[in-house]
């Protein structure tokens, strides 16, 4: 049975799209037929991160409005055979996101795919609500800072109250916490919340910690999800998230400030 996974956070700029791209890529690399949908109608970001922006002809809204078939709109990823992208439109036609329309498309995708990853826009408006409404599982993307944690808490409240599963009284959405842009140094300096602080407050299982890293930016600029950058710690951290999602038990990595060599400790930086 196909699974719908929403990547959501409430707050913008925390790493939802970065996470959606790498997570969907990771699932596909493990042999799962995966599609990632950009719900950020009007902004359209995912296709850039996935490096397929030049191949966008039809988009999610076209399919919702029956202006194209799903097949015409799905873009095959250039690195993975199992991976497809359903891009958002650039127009601001947010009204196109209706419950019936989204459900129709998800049901059609469920026939072909193992995983449907929904990249949510920020906020708690229509787009975000539609992205999470049909979810079976959720990746809650949070930065270790108060406002991001607060917004994630809000989104968890909405998942528990306003999702289809909640409204139908079905088994609740399975929630996973992804802490991104984690900087051990800033945590040590007290400028960021610790992992325990975030976990305590949100009270949901942690599936991974993605360190703050420059490789994310260069990956975005080159349109290759950072999980392909197997030398970078953030790429490896995303690979761990995918493994844990598939049930592999792995310890957390990249949580501590890297110990400096003896010489640099003596002579400073």
């Amino acid at each position: 049975m196909a699974k719908v996974i929403v990547v959501t956070s409430g707050k913008g700029g925390v790493g939802k799209t970065t996470t959606s791209a790498s997570f969907a890529t990771g699932l596909a690399m493990k042999g799962n037929k995966t599609v990632v949908i950009d719900f950020d109608v009007g902004l359209r970001n995912l296709d850039l991160i996935m490096g397929c922006e030049r191949r966008v002809v039809y988009d999610f809204v076209n399919v919702l409005n029956n202006e194209s078939t799903l097949k015409q709109a799905l873009i095959k990823d250039k690195h993975c055979d199992n991976l497809f992208v359903l891009p958002a439109s650039q127009t601001r036609d947010k009204d196109a996101l209706t419950e019936e329309g989204v459900e129709r498309i998800l049901n059609e995708l469920k026939k072909d795919f193992d995983y449907i990853v929904c990249d949510s826009p920020a906020g708690i408006e229509k787009g975000a609500l539609m992205a999470l409404y049909f979810a079976d599982e959720a990746l809650i993307v949070t930065n270790p800072e108060v406002s991001s944690v607060r917004d994630s808490d809000r989104i968890l409240g909405i998942l528990a109250a306003k999702s289809k599963r909640a409204l139908n009284g079905d088994e609740p959405i399975k929630e996973h916490l992804v802490i991104t842009r984690y900087s051990p140094k800033r945590v040590e300096l007290g400028e960021m919340l610790s992992i325990d602080d975030v976990k305590d407050l949100l009270g949901i299982p942690l599936i991974g910690v993605i360190p703050e890293s420059e490789s994310v930016l260069s990956a975005s600029n080159s349109g290759v999800p950072v999980i392909h950058d197997i030398d970078s710690n953030s790429g490896q951290a995303y690979a761990d998230v995918v493994d844990r999602f598939m049930g592999v038990n792995l310890p957390l990595r990249f949580l501590n400030v890297e110990k400096k060599g003896l010489l640099s400790r003596i002579f400073g930086n």
Binding site: R150, D153, R154, G157, I158, A160, A161, G203
Partner: protein, 256 residues
């Protein structure tokens, strides 16, 4: 008037008049100045505002001692605060006449509780035994299990969420996070960290109490008397098991 237990629809009757007893919040007016009332009300309501949204209120004129009031301006002001004025009490004959012409009902005294204005006042009487007519008793019987209902919450209450135990106590067995609000007409118990806002006795029960296993709240209120913990919670109660209750007008938050 007959009080009916079952709600079966009577097809013949277009209306059916039934007796019911309600507890209403009372707004005690202590000044004839609409501006003064507005600024005071805005300040007092802001913390508990959402729970008084669209609440019916009774306007108590006792403290005005016959002084006249611009009722239509007052009604507009209360409407702006999302309060629905239902009537006046303790008015002079002249005030009552003005109130009626402004569309308000005149209510006779009775065991109503003062919740919005906290000045200690003899007018907050306790319900007298003889006020409990047969009808009241019967009504209570009919509503058994409803009016005394205790609400139990086992899921975390998260930022932006609001839980209201109407007509009874609220027991929360999971964390109440910052930005979450829990409200009860009766008492509140929280058997987990309490980091949001808790408002007990919102319909005026000054005997209501709040019990928290770990006091980390942003706001605690009992019957409209509240304390905001903006920066630091005093160390004697912070993350401790506490109870909050009213001692006269004073809201006490003390370790258990």
């Amino acid at each position: 008037m007959q009080t009916e237990v079952d709600d079966s629809v009577k097809l013949e009757a277009a209306v059916d008049l039934k007796g019911s007893v309600f507890t209403l919040p009372v707004l005690q007016i202590c000044s004839g100045s609409i501006d003064a009332i507005e600024s005071e009300l805005t300040e007092r309501l802001s913390a508990a505002l959402k729970f008084f949204k669209h609440a019916p209120v009774v306007i108590d004129l006792e403290k005005l001692s016959g002084q006249n009031l611009d009722f239509s301006a007052l009604l507009k002001l209360l409407a702006r605060q999302d309060l629905v004025s239902v009537g006046v009490r303790n008015g002079s004959a002249q005030q009552n006449a003005l109130a009626v012409s402004a569309g308000l009902a005149v209510l006779k005294g009775g065991p109503l509780q003062n919740i919005l204005v906290q000045e200690s006042s003899e007018s907050v009487e306790k319900p007298k035994a003889e006020h409990r007519t047969d009808k009241v008793v019967e009504e209570k019987k009919n509503n058994k299990g409803l009016s005394s209902a205790t609400k139990i919450v086992t899921q975390p209450v998260r930022s932006g969420q609001q839980i209201y135990a109407k007509g009874g106590d609220l027991i929360v067995m999971a964390p109440v996070n910052p930005g979450a609000e829990i409200v009860a007409d009766g008492n509140i118990h929280v058997y987990a960290p309490m980091k949001g806002r808790a408002l007990a006795g919102v319909m005026g029960d000054t005997k209501a109490r709040i019990f928290c296993q770990s006091m980390e709240a942003e706001l605690i209120a009992v019957a409209g008397n509240f304390r905001v913990f903006e920066d630091q919670i005093p160390s004697d109660i912070r993350a401790k098991s506490v109870q909050a209750y009213l001692d006269g007008d004073h809201l006490v938050v003390a370790p258990l």
